[in-house]
Point group: C2
Chain length 257, copies 2
Protein backbone atom coordinates (compact mmCIF):
# COMPACT_ATOMS: atom_id res chain seq x y z
CA UNK A 1 0.00 0.00 0.00
CA UNK A 2 1.35 3.39 -0.96
CA UNK A 3 1.31 6.31 1.35
CA UNK A 4 1.05 10.04 0.93
CA UNK A 5 3.06 13.22 0.87
CA UNK A 6 1.27 16.29 2.20
CA UNK A 7 3.22 19.51 1.81
CA UNK A 8 2.20 22.06 4.42
CA UNK A 9 3.23 25.50 5.61
CA UNK A 10 3.36 26.39 9.29
CA UNK A 11 2.59 30.02 8.53
CA UNK A 12 4.89 32.64 10.04
CA UNK A 13 5.38 30.63 13.23
CA UNK A 14 2.75 31.27 15.88
CA UNK A 15 0.06 28.66 16.41
CA UNK A 16 -2.62 31.25 15.70
CA UNK A 17 -1.88 31.23 11.96
CA UNK A 18 -1.44 27.46 11.50
CA UNK A 19 -4.48 26.40 9.46
CA UNK A 20 -6.73 23.62 10.78
CA UNK A 21 -5.98 21.58 7.64
CA UNK A 22 -2.23 21.79 8.23
CA UNK A 23 -2.75 21.00 11.89
CA UNK A 24 -4.79 17.89 11.01
CA UNK A 25 -2.11 16.77 8.57
CA UNK A 26 0.51 17.02 11.31
CA UNK A 27 -1.69 15.06 13.74
CA UNK A 28 -2.22 12.29 11.18
CA UNK A 29 1.39 12.04 10.01
CA UNK A 30 3.72 9.12 10.65
CA UNK A 31 6.76 11.10 9.46
CA UNK A 32 7.73 14.75 9.22
CA UNK A 33 10.36 15.83 6.69
CA UNK A 34 11.83 19.32 6.62
CA UNK A 35 14.53 21.82 7.39
CA UNK A 36 15.38 21.23 11.05
CA UNK A 37 14.62 24.83 12.03
CA UNK A 38 11.05 24.42 10.77
CA UNK A 39 10.58 21.00 12.34
CA UNK A 40 11.49 22.62 15.65
CA UNK A 41 8.49 24.92 15.17
CA UNK A 42 6.05 21.99 14.95
CA UNK A 43 3.97 21.69 18.14
CA UNK A 44 5.45 19.23 20.67
CA UNK A 45 2.33 17.07 20.82
CA UNK A 46 2.80 15.96 17.20
CA UNK A 47 4.03 12.39 17.59
CA UNK A 48 5.38 11.66 14.10
CA UNK A 49 9.02 10.73 13.55
CA UNK A 50 10.98 13.84 12.60
CA UNK A 51 13.51 13.70 9.76
CA UNK A 52 15.33 17.02 9.89
CA UNK A 53 17.85 18.15 7.31
CA UNK A 54 19.94 21.17 6.48
CA UNK A 55 18.73 24.13 4.50
CA UNK A 56 19.43 24.05 0.73
CA UNK A 57 18.82 20.29 0.56
CA UNK A 58 15.35 20.64 -0.90
CA UNK A 59 15.76 18.13 -3.72
CA UNK A 60 17.13 15.36 -1.51
CA UNK A 61 14.49 16.11 1.11
CA UNK A 62 11.67 15.89 -1.42
CA UNK A 63 13.00 12.56 -2.73
CA UNK A 64 13.29 11.23 0.82
CA UNK A 65 9.68 12.17 1.51
CA UNK A 66 8.49 10.37 -1.64
CA UNK A 67 10.58 7.30 -0.70
CA UNK A 68 9.01 7.16 2.75
CA UNK A 69 5.55 7.50 1.24
CA UNK A 70 6.29 4.72 -1.24
CA UNK A 71 6.85 2.53 1.83
CA UNK A 72 3.30 3.32 2.93
CA UNK A 73 4.05 6.16 5.35
CA UNK A 74 1.89 9.25 5.77
CA UNK A 75 4.57 11.89 5.26
CA UNK A 76 4.15 15.59 5.95
CA UNK A 77 6.74 17.88 4.38
CA UNK A 78 7.03 20.96 6.56
CA UNK A 79 7.77 24.47 5.24
CA UNK A 80 7.31 27.76 7.01
CA UNK A 81 4.89 30.28 5.51
CA UNK A 82 3.11 28.90 2.45
CA UNK A 83 4.76 25.78 1.01
CA UNK A 84 3.89 27.06 -2.47
CA UNK A 85 5.91 30.28 -2.13
CA UNK A 86 9.70 29.81 -2.34
CA UNK A 87 9.33 26.51 -0.50
CA UNK A 88 8.93 22.75 -0.70
CA UNK A 89 5.86 22.27 -2.93
CA UNK A 90 7.81 23.06 -6.10
CA UNK A 91 10.70 20.86 -4.92
CA UNK A 92 8.38 17.84 -4.54
CA UNK A 93 6.80 18.38 -7.97
CA UNK A 94 10.25 18.77 -9.53
CA UNK A 95 11.12 15.30 -8.25
CA UNK A 96 7.95 13.82 -9.72
CA UNK A 97 8.69 15.60 -13.02
CA UNK A 98 12.26 14.28 -13.28
CA UNK A 99 13.10 12.44 -16.52
CA UNK A 100 12.78 8.98 -14.96
CA UNK A 101 11.19 9.13 -11.52
CA UNK A 102 11.37 5.86 -9.53
CA UNK A 103 8.48 3.55 -10.39
CA UNK A 104 7.76 3.14 -6.68
CA UNK A 105 6.67 6.77 -6.40
CA UNK A 106 3.88 6.28 -8.91
CA UNK A 107 1.18 5.39 -6.38
CA UNK A 108 2.06 8.07 -3.85
CA UNK A 109 -0.67 10.65 -3.26
CA UNK A 110 0.69 14.21 -3.23
CA UNK A 111 -1.24 17.12 -1.75
CA UNK A 112 -0.28 20.74 -1.07
CA UNK A 113 -1.96 22.79 1.68
CA UNK A 114 -1.60 26.57 1.55
CA UNK A 115 -0.45 28.72 4.46
CA UNK A 116 0.02 32.34 5.50
CA UNK A 117 3.33 33.76 4.24
CA UNK A 118 5.82 35.91 6.13
CA UNK A 119 4.99 38.78 3.76
CA UNK A 120 1.30 38.56 4.61
CA UNK A 121 1.99 38.40 8.34
CA UNK A 122 4.35 41.37 8.10
CA UNK A 123 1.80 43.32 6.06
CA UNK A 124 -0.97 42.62 8.57
CA UNK A 125 1.12 43.74 11.54
CA UNK A 126 2.09 46.94 9.68
CA UNK A 127 -1.40 47.74 8.36
CA UNK A 128 -2.15 47.00 4.71
CA UNK A 129 0.87 47.70 2.48
CA UNK A 130 -0.18 44.87 0.11
CA UNK A 131 -3.63 46.40 -0.35
CA UNK A 132 -3.06 47.04 -4.06
CA UNK A 133 -1.16 45.24 -6.87
CA UNK A 134 2.12 43.77 -5.67
CA UNK A 135 5.03 41.51 -6.57
CA UNK A 136 6.91 38.94 -4.50
CA UNK A 137 10.56 38.54 -5.45
CA UNK A 138 13.41 36.61 -3.85
CA UNK A 139 16.80 38.33 -3.85
CA UNK A 140 18.60 35.01 -3.51
CA UNK A 141 20.85 34.31 -6.48
CA UNK A 142 21.43 30.70 -5.50
CA UNK A 143 18.87 29.58 -8.04
CA UNK A 144 18.66 32.45 -10.51
CA UNK A 145 21.19 34.87 -11.98
CA UNK A 146 21.51 38.31 -10.42
CA UNK A 147 20.84 40.08 -13.78
CA UNK A 148 17.40 38.39 -13.84
CA UNK A 149 16.70 39.73 -10.36
CA UNK A 150 17.80 43.24 -11.38
CA UNK A 151 15.62 43.16 -14.47
CA UNK A 152 12.61 42.06 -12.43
CA UNK A 153 13.13 44.73 -9.79
CA UNK A 154 13.47 47.38 -12.47
CA UNK A 155 10.28 46.25 -14.22
CA UNK A 156 8.06 46.06 -11.15
CA UNK A 157 9.42 49.33 -9.77
CA UNK A 158 8.77 51.07 -13.09
CA UNK A 159 5.22 49.69 -13.08
CA UNK A 160 4.77 51.07 -9.53
CA UNK A 161 3.86 47.78 -7.85
CA UNK A 162 4.42 47.24 -4.15
CA UNK A 163 7.27 44.73 -3.80
CA UNK A 164 7.79 42.13 -1.08
CA UNK A 165 11.43 41.04 -1.02
CA UNK A 166 12.39 37.63 0.35
CA UNK A 167 15.94 36.52 1.24
CA UNK A 168 17.12 40.14 1.28
CA UNK A 169 20.62 39.59 2.63
CA UNK A 170 23.11 36.98 3.67
CA UNK A 171 26.73 36.75 4.67
CA UNK A 172 27.49 35.39 1.19
CA UNK A 173 25.73 38.32 -0.50
CA UNK A 174 26.12 41.37 1.74
CA UNK A 175 25.78 43.91 -1.06
CA UNK A 176 22.73 42.61 -2.86
CA UNK A 177 20.15 44.50 -0.85
CA UNK A 178 21.84 47.85 -1.45
CA UNK A 179 22.19 47.00 -5.14
CA UNK A 180 18.49 46.16 -5.20
CA UNK A 181 17.65 49.46 -3.51
CA UNK A 182 19.73 51.29 -6.13
CA UNK A 183 17.60 49.70 -8.85
CA UNK A 184 14.38 50.63 -7.05
CA UNK A 185 15.57 54.22 -6.57
CA UNK A 186 15.60 54.62 -10.36
CA UNK A 187 11.81 54.71 -10.13
CA UNK A 188 10.89 55.37 -6.49
CA UNK A 189 11.47 58.39 -4.27
CA UNK A 190 14.00 58.04 -1.42
CA UNK A 191 11.18 58.60 1.10
CA UNK A 192 9.09 55.69 -0.25
CA UNK A 193 7.50 53.83 2.66
CA UNK A 194 9.18 50.50 3.48
CA UNK A 195 8.10 47.91 6.06
CA UNK A 196 10.74 45.68 7.67
CA UNK A 197 9.30 42.65 9.44
CA UNK A 198 11.77 40.46 11.31
CA UNK A 199 10.80 37.13 12.88
CA UNK A 200 7.14 38.07 12.55
CA UNK A 201 5.01 35.55 14.41
CA UNK A 202 8.03 34.32 16.37
CA UNK A 203 9.63 35.35 19.65
CA UNK A 204 11.32 38.74 19.40
CA UNK A 205 9.22 39.88 16.43
CA UNK A 206 9.90 43.42 15.23
CA UNK A 207 8.15 45.65 12.72
CA UNK A 208 9.80 48.84 11.52
CA UNK A 209 8.55 51.39 9.04
CA UNK A 210 11.41 53.24 7.35
CA UNK A 211 12.14 55.04 4.08
CA UNK A 212 13.65 53.36 1.03
CA UNK A 213 16.84 55.40 1.41
CA UNK A 214 17.29 54.06 4.94
CA UNK A 215 17.04 50.37 3.95
CA UNK A 216 20.73 49.67 3.13
CA UNK A 217 21.82 50.71 6.64
CA UNK A 218 18.82 49.28 8.49
CA UNK A 219 20.49 46.03 9.51
CA UNK A 220 18.28 43.85 7.34
CA UNK A 221 19.12 40.14 7.60
CA UNK A 222 17.78 36.87 6.16
CA UNK A 223 15.08 36.71 8.83
CA UNK A 224 13.60 39.97 7.57
CA UNK A 225 10.90 40.47 4.95
CA UNK A 226 11.15 43.84 3.19
CA UNK A 227 7.95 45.34 1.77
CA UNK A 228 8.72 48.33 -0.47
CA UNK A 229 5.72 50.54 -1.01
CA UNK A 230 4.53 51.95 -4.32
CA UNK A 231 4.39 55.69 -4.99
CA UNK A 232 0.97 55.59 -3.30
CA UNK A 233 1.82 53.73 -0.09
CA UNK A 234 1.24 55.94 2.92
CA UNK A 235 2.45 56.15 6.49
CA UNK A 236 -0.14 56.83 9.17
CA UNK A 237 0.41 57.63 12.83
CA UNK A 238 -2.57 56.52 14.88
CA UNK A 239 -3.80 58.25 18.01
CA UNK A 240 -1.86 55.85 20.26
CA UNK A 241 1.34 56.89 18.49
CA UNK A 242 1.85 53.67 16.55
CA UNK A 243 2.86 53.92 12.92
CA UNK A 244 1.08 51.98 10.18
CA UNK A 245 1.61 51.64 6.45
CA UNK A 246 -1.05 51.04 3.85
CA UNK A 247 -1.52 51.20 0.10
CA UNK A 248 -4.82 52.83 -0.88
CA UNK A 249 -7.23 50.85 -2.99
CA UNK A 250 -7.59 53.69 -5.47
CA UNK A 251 -4.85 54.60 -7.97
CA UNK A 252 -4.59 58.18 -9.28
CA UNK A 253 -6.36 58.97 -12.51
CA UNK A 254 -9.77 57.41 -11.95
CA UNK A 255 -11.55 60.02 -9.85
CA UNK A 256 -12.87 61.62 -13.01
CA UNK A 257 -13.57 58.35 -14.82
Amino acid sequence: MSGSVTVIGLGPGDAGTLTPDASSALDGATDLVGYSTYLDMVPDHVAATRHGSDNREEAARAAAALDLAADGRRVVVVSSGDPGVFAMAAAVLEQLDAPEPPERWSDVTVEVLPGVTAAQATAARAGAPLGHDFAVISLSDNLKPWPVIERRLDAVAAADLVIALYNPASRARPHQLSEAVDVLLRHRAPDTVVVLGRDVGRPGETIRIVSLAEVPDAGVDMRTVVIVGSSQTRRLTTSDGSVRAYTPRRYPGVDEA
Copy 2:
Protein backbone atom coordinates in the same frame (compact mmCIF):
# COMPACT_ATOMS: atom_id res chain seq x y z
CA MET B 1 -14.77 52.67 26.93
CA SER B 2 -13.67 52.27 23.34
CA GLY B 3 -13.85 49.04 21.50
CA SER B 4 -11.89 47.42 18.74
CA VAL B 5 -11.91 46.71 15.03
CA THR B 6 -10.27 43.45 13.99
CA VAL B 7 -10.03 42.97 10.26
CA ILE B 8 -9.92 39.29 9.35
CA GLY B 9 -9.93 37.09 6.26
CA LEU B 10 -11.93 33.89 6.10
CA GLY B 11 -9.46 32.37 3.67
CA PRO B 12 -10.85 30.85 0.49
CA GLY B 13 -13.99 29.59 2.22
CA ASP B 14 -13.59 26.17 3.81
CA ALA B 15 -13.20 25.95 7.57
CA GLY B 16 -9.88 24.13 7.11
CA THR B 17 -8.10 27.30 6.07
CA LEU B 18 -9.64 29.70 8.61
CA THR B 19 -6.77 30.54 10.97
CA PRO B 20 -7.21 29.97 14.72
CA ASP B 21 -6.61 33.71 15.31
CA ALA B 22 -9.41 34.68 12.93
CA SER B 23 -11.64 32.04 14.46
CA SER B 24 -11.01 33.43 17.96
CA ALA B 25 -11.75 36.94 16.77
CA LEU B 26 -15.11 35.78 15.40
CA ASP B 27 -15.93 33.98 18.65
CA GLY B 28 -15.12 37.09 20.71
CA ALA B 29 -16.93 39.59 18.48
CA THR B 30 -20.07 41.48 19.37
CA ASP B 31 -20.57 42.66 15.78
CA LEU B 32 -19.58 41.46 12.32
CA VAL B 33 -19.34 43.94 9.46
CA GLY B 34 -18.84 42.89 5.85
CA TYR B 35 -20.11 42.15 2.39
CA SER B 36 -23.20 39.98 2.91
CA THR B 37 -21.80 37.14 0.77
CA TYR B 38 -18.80 36.86 3.08
CA LEU B 39 -20.85 37.15 6.28
CA ASP B 40 -22.86 34.17 5.00
CA MET B 41 -19.61 32.18 5.01
CA VAL B 42 -19.03 32.80 8.75
CA PRO B 43 -19.75 29.63 10.77
CA ASP B 44 -23.29 29.52 12.15
CA HIS B 45 -22.19 29.19 15.78
CA VAL B 46 -20.73 32.71 15.74
CA ALA B 47 -23.25 34.67 17.80
CA ALA B 48 -22.28 38.26 16.94
CA THR B 49 -24.76 40.64 15.32
CA ARG B 50 -24.23 40.64 11.56
CA HIS B 51 -24.22 43.92 9.64
CA GLY B 52 -24.16 42.92 5.99
CA SER B 53 -23.80 45.37 3.14
CA ASP B 54 -23.44 45.38 -0.63
CA ASN B 55 -20.19 44.96 -2.46
CA ARG B 56 -18.36 48.18 -3.44
CA GLU B 57 -19.39 49.91 -0.22
CA GLU B 58 -16.02 49.44 1.44
CA ALA B 59 -15.57 53.02 2.66
CA ALA B 60 -19.00 53.24 4.29
CA ARG B 61 -18.55 49.77 5.78
CA ALA B 62 -15.17 50.69 7.28
CA ALA B 63 -16.62 53.86 8.79
CA ALA B 64 -19.56 51.92 10.22
CA ALA B 65 -17.17 49.44 11.85
CA LEU B 66 -15.17 52.27 13.45
CA ASP B 67 -18.40 53.90 14.67
CA LEU B 68 -19.55 50.68 16.33
CA ALA B 69 -16.14 50.25 17.95
CA ALA B 70 -16.25 53.84 19.23
CA ASP B 71 -19.41 52.78 21.07
CA GLY B 72 -17.41 50.11 22.83
CA ARG B 73 -18.24 47.15 20.57
CA ARG B 74 -15.78 44.41 19.61
CA VAL B 75 -16.18 44.60 15.85
CA VAL B 76 -14.82 42.09 13.37
CA VAL B 77 -14.63 43.23 9.75
CA VAL B 78 -14.92 40.15 7.56
CA SER B 79 -13.18 39.75 4.20
CA SER B 80 -12.61 36.59 2.24
CA GLY B 81 -9.03 35.49 1.56
CA ASP B 82 -6.49 37.80 3.23
CA PRO B 83 -8.00 41.12 4.36
CA GLY B 84 -4.73 42.81 3.36
CA VAL B 85 -4.99 41.79 -0.32
CA PHE B 86 -7.60 43.74 -2.34
CA ALA B 87 -9.82 43.79 0.73
CA MET B 88 -10.97 45.63 3.83
CA ALA B 89 -7.73 46.32 5.74
CA ALA B 90 -6.76 49.18 3.41
CA ALA B 91 -10.33 50.53 3.49
CA VAL B 92 -10.24 50.78 7.31
CA LEU B 93 -6.84 52.49 7.32
CA GLU B 94 -8.02 54.92 4.62
CA GLN B 95 -10.82 55.99 6.97
CA LEU B 96 -8.38 56.57 9.83
CA ASP B 97 -6.11 58.53 7.46
CA ALA B 98 -8.88 60.84 6.22
CA PRO B 99 -8.21 64.58 6.59
CA GLU B 100 -10.36 64.91 9.71
CA PRO B 101 -11.38 61.56 11.13
CA PRO B 102 -14.05 61.72 13.85
CA GLU B 103 -12.52 62.35 17.26
CA ARG B 104 -14.51 59.42 18.64
CA TRP B 105 -12.46 56.95 16.56
CA SER B 106 -9.23 57.96 18.27
CA ASP B 107 -9.36 55.36 21.02
CA VAL B 108 -10.43 52.47 18.84
CA THR B 109 -7.89 49.64 18.65
CA VAL B 110 -7.37 48.41 15.08
CA GLU B 111 -5.80 45.06 14.28
CA VAL B 112 -5.39 43.14 11.02
CA LEU B 113 -5.12 39.34 10.93
CA PRO B 114 -3.73 37.71 7.78
CA GLY B 115 -5.44 34.89 5.88
CA VAL B 116 -4.92 32.51 2.98
CA THR B 117 -5.77 34.12 -0.35
CA ALA B 118 -7.74 32.63 -3.24
CA ALA B 119 -4.54 32.71 -5.32
CA GLN B 120 -2.68 30.65 -2.72
CA ALA B 121 -5.51 28.15 -2.42
CA THR B 122 -5.73 27.84 -6.20
CA ALA B 123 -1.96 27.40 -6.46
CA ALA B 124 -1.95 24.68 -3.79
CA ARG B 125 -4.72 22.71 -5.47
CA ALA B 126 -2.92 22.96 -8.83
CA GLY B 127 0.55 22.15 -7.49
CA ALA B 128 3.02 25.02 -7.07
CA PRO B 129 2.67 27.61 -9.84
CA LEU B 130 3.68 30.40 -7.40
CA GLY B 131 6.92 28.59 -6.52
CA HIS B 132 9.09 31.36 -7.95
CA ASP B 133 8.82 35.18 -8.21
CA PHE B 134 5.27 36.33 -8.92
CA ALA B 135 2.95 39.32 -9.12
CA VAL B 136 -0.64 39.76 -7.98
CA ILE B 137 -2.68 42.18 -10.09
CA SER B 138 -6.36 43.07 -10.10
CA LEU B 139 -7.93 43.61 -13.52
CA SER B 140 -10.70 45.71 -12.02
CA ASP B 141 -10.66 49.25 -13.36
CA ASN B 142 -13.14 50.52 -10.80
CA LEU B 143 -10.30 51.99 -8.77
CA LYS B 144 -7.44 52.36 -11.23
CA PRO B 145 -7.24 53.37 -14.90
CA TRP B 146 -7.01 50.59 -17.49
CA PRO B 147 -3.77 52.03 -18.98
CA VAL B 148 -2.12 51.50 -15.56
CA ILE B 149 -3.26 47.88 -15.60
CA GLU B 150 -1.94 47.37 -19.13
CA ARG B 151 1.41 48.90 -18.23
CA ARG B 152 1.72 46.65 -15.20
CA LEU B 153 0.82 43.52 -17.13
CA ASP B 154 3.35 44.41 -19.82
CA ALA B 155 6.10 45.02 -17.26
CA VAL B 156 5.61 41.84 -15.23
CA ALA B 157 5.18 39.73 -18.37
CA ALA B 158 8.39 41.16 -19.85
CA ALA B 159 10.19 40.37 -16.58
CA ASP B 160 8.86 36.79 -16.78
CA LEU B 161 7.08 36.73 -13.43
CA VAL B 162 4.20 34.39 -12.75
CA ILE B 163 1.05 36.53 -12.54
CA ALA B 164 -2.04 35.93 -10.41
CA LEU B 165 -4.97 37.90 -11.81
CA TYR B 166 -7.87 38.92 -9.58
CA ASN B 167 -11.24 40.23 -10.77
CA PRO B 168 -10.58 38.90 -14.27
CA ALA B 169 -13.98 39.56 -15.79
CA SER B 170 -17.37 41.04 -15.16
CA ARG B 171 -20.50 41.87 -17.07
CA ALA B 172 -19.43 45.52 -17.04
CA ARG B 173 -15.99 44.64 -18.46
CA PRO B 174 -16.40 41.61 -20.70
CA HIS B 175 -13.39 42.37 -22.92
CA GLN B 176 -10.75 43.16 -20.33
CA LEU B 177 -9.50 39.64 -19.84
CA SER B 178 -8.90 39.14 -23.56
CA GLU B 179 -7.20 42.53 -23.73
CA ALA B 180 -5.02 41.49 -20.81
CA VAL B 181 -4.16 38.22 -22.54
CA ASP B 182 -3.17 40.17 -25.67
CA VAL B 183 -0.72 42.18 -23.57
CA LEU B 184 0.71 39.02 -21.99
CA LEU B 185 1.08 37.37 -25.41
CA ARG B 186 3.58 40.10 -26.35
CA HIS B 187 6.01 38.32 -24.04
CA ARG B 188 4.64 34.82 -23.38
CA ALA B 189 4.11 31.87 -25.69
CA PRO B 190 0.50 30.89 -26.53
CA ASP B 191 1.06 27.53 -24.80
CA THR B 192 2.11 29.14 -21.49
CA VAL B 193 0.61 27.17 -18.61
CA VAL B 194 -2.38 28.87 -16.96
CA VAL B 195 -4.31 27.72 -13.88
CA LEU B 196 -7.97 28.66 -13.53
CA GLY B 197 -9.34 28.21 -10.03
CA ARG B 198 -13.05 28.85 -9.58
CA ASP B 199 -14.74 28.89 -6.16
CA VAL B 200 -11.70 27.19 -4.67
CA GLY B 201 -12.45 26.12 -1.11
CA ARG B 202 -16.19 26.46 -1.73
CA PRO B 203 -18.88 24.08 -2.98
CA GLY B 204 -18.47 23.30 -6.66
CA GLU B 205 -14.76 24.16 -6.71
CA THR B 206 -13.03 23.62 -10.05
CA ILE B 207 -9.37 23.73 -11.08
CA ARG B 208 -8.45 23.75 -14.76
CA ILE B 209 -5.03 23.89 -16.35
CA VAL B 210 -5.16 25.45 -19.82
CA SER B 211 -2.89 27.38 -22.17
CA LEU B 212 -2.69 31.17 -22.32
CA ALA B 213 -4.23 31.18 -25.79
CA GLU B 214 -7.26 29.31 -24.46
CA VAL B 215 -8.00 31.78 -21.65
CA PRO B 216 -10.25 34.27 -23.50
CA ASP B 217 -12.72 31.49 -24.42
CA ALA B 218 -12.44 29.55 -21.16
CA GLY B 219 -15.53 31.06 -19.54
CA VAL B 220 -13.58 32.90 -16.83
CA ASP B 221 -15.82 34.87 -14.47
CA MET B 222 -15.38 37.02 -11.35
CA ARG B 223 -15.28 33.95 -9.14
CA THR B 224 -12.18 32.71 -10.95
CA VAL B 225 -8.54 33.38 -10.07
CA VAL B 226 -6.25 33.17 -13.10
CA ILE B 227 -2.61 32.22 -12.52
CA VAL B 228 -0.53 32.78 -15.65
CA GLY B 229 2.75 30.87 -15.58
CA SER B 230 6.16 32.24 -16.46
CA SER B 231 8.20 30.85 -19.37
CA GLN B 232 9.41 28.21 -16.89
CA THR B 233 6.07 27.01 -15.47
CA ARG B 234 5.52 23.37 -16.32
CA ARG B 235 2.58 21.03 -16.65
CA LEU B 236 2.96 17.57 -15.13
CA THR B 237 0.64 14.58 -15.49
CA THR B 238 0.92 12.35 -12.46
CA SER B 239 0.52 8.59 -12.50
CA ASP B 240 -3.15 8.82 -11.49
CA GLY B 241 -3.80 10.97 -14.56
CA SER B 242 -4.25 14.26 -12.73
CA VAL B 243 -2.57 17.34 -14.14
CA ARG B 244 -0.49 19.67 -11.99
CA ALA B 245 1.33 22.93 -12.68
CA TYR B 246 4.48 24.13 -10.98
CA THR B 247 7.17 26.74 -11.42
CA PRO B 248 10.66 25.35 -10.79
CA ARG B 249 12.77 26.96 -8.12
CA ARG B 250 15.71 27.31 -10.49
CA TYR B 251 15.79 29.91 -13.29
CA PRO B 252 17.91 29.25 -16.42
CA GLY B 253 21.40 30.61 -16.46
CA VAL B 254 22.69 29.52 -13.08
CA ASP B 255 23.63 25.89 -13.67
CA GLU B 256 27.09 27.00 -14.73
CA ALA B 257 27.39 29.78 -12.15
